[in-house]
Amino acid sequence: MIIPLLKVTNLSKSYDNIVGCKNISMSLYPGEVLGIVGESGSGKTTLINCLSGNLEPDRGKIIFNINNKETDFLNISESEKRKFIRTDLAFVHQNPRDGLRLNVSAGGNIGEKLMSVGYRHYGNIRSLATKWMNKVEIDKSRIDDLPITFSGGMLQRLQIAKNLITSPNVIFMDEPTGGLDVSVQARVLDLIRSLVNELNLTVIIVSHDLAVIRLLADKMIVMKNGTVIESGLSDQVLEDPQQEYTQLLVSSVLHV
C-alpha cells in the first residue's frame, strides 16, 4: 500500500463572502503529475496557493508524507512551515518575473535558492548553477547576466531551474506556459516533461489549456465555482467526461 505524498481533506477558503474553494479533497502519489483545470475564478489558484503555503485556508487538512515523515501542514509552527516550504516545496509562477529577482544575475537567482537550503561553498554553488543552466538549455555564458536581458522563454526556463535545483518534493506550477509564445510553449513543455520523467517529480500544475494537461498530467481535477466537479485519469476525464461542464470544456477546444 503506497501512502499518498499529499492528502487534502475538506479544504475551504473564502474571501469575505466570496467562495475561493470549497470542500476540496484529493490525494497525490509520489511521481504523479496532477492537472487542475477550470475557468477563471473557479478557484484553481486559491487551491494551489493554500497547498503551497501562500494562503491560509479557513478549514480542512493538508497532510504531506515525505520519506515516511508526516507533516500536518496547517498545524505546524510558522518557522517549521517556512522551513518545509523552503526545502520541500517549489512554486513556478505564470509570470517568471514573480519568481525571479530581476536585478540579480541569473546565476545569483539560482545560487540564492541553494543558499536558502544551506549551501555555502561558492564553487559548488556556481558549478551546480552552471549545470542547471545547461539542463534548461540556457547558454552558460549568460550566468552573470541580469534576467532583464533574457527573453520570456529563457526567463521561464531560468525560473524552472531555480525551483528545481534544490530537489523539492512537490512542485506547484501556475500556468507555466501561459504567458509564452506558442513556439516557446512547446519548448518549455518539452523541458518540464523531460525533467518530470528524469527526476520523477511530483507536480501540481494549473492550466486552462487542456492540451498542456493532456501532455503533462497523469491525473486531473476539474473545478467550477470553487468545488471539484470531476476528477480522474487525465485521458479518461478528457475522453469520457461525465459532467456537463467538463463536456462543454472539452468540446470547446479548437483543433488546428
Partner: protein, 224 residues
Amino acid sequence: MIEVKKVNKSFTLFNQNNAKITVFKNLNFEVNPGEIVALKGPSGIGKSSILKMIYGSYIIDKGAIIINNKNIATLSAQEILKLRKTSIGYVSQFLKVIPRISALDVIMEPLLNSGDNKNNAYKKSIKLLKDLNIEKNLWHLSPLTFSGGEQQRINIARGFIKDLPYLLLDEPTASLDSRNRDIIINLIKAKSNRGVSIIGIFHDEYSRKKLNVREIDLNIETKH
C-alpha cells in the same frame, strides 16, 4: 487473460439535448494468453470504445473487465496507472506527442519511465526502429513531421518496446503499405508467440487472416 463480463456502456451528451447513446449492453468475451482477438463491426459500433474501457480511458458503466485478477471498473486512478505501466500496451489510432521530441526519445520513454537504464533503452529502441524499417536520418527528428505511415510505426514502436502481457491495438496496420504491413504483422505474431493476450481492430481481411485471429462480431455480441 482479459475477461469482459456483462459490460454496459453509454454516453450522455449534456450539451446536445442530453442525448443518450447506448453503445453496449451485456457485452461478454475473453482473450486468452497468446490469443489474438479481432473486434469486428461497422464504424461507430464501439470497437475503439472497448479498447479504451480496457485501458481505463473510458468509464465502464456496468459490469467488469478483469485483468491480472483486478477489475478495471473499480480501480483507482493510481492503480490504473500502475497496471498500465506493468501490464498493458496500447497503440492508439493516432500518435500524440509533444513537438520537438525525437522519434528515438518517444520510443525510449516508456522504458525509461519504468526504470530501465538509458543505454539498454537506447539499444532496444534502435533495434526496433531498424526492425520497423524507419530510416536512420529520421531517428533524431520529431515524428510530428513524419508521414502518416511513419508516424503509425513510431506509435507501434512505443507500444511494443516493453514486454507486457496485454496489448491493445487500434488499427495498427491502417496507414501502411504492404511491405510495412507485413513487418507489423510479424511483430504482432512474435508478441503472440510469447504469450501476450492481444485485442485489435484490423480494418483489412489480409491482416486478420495472416494473424489467424479469432473474430468477435459486435453486431452479434451487442444487442441494442
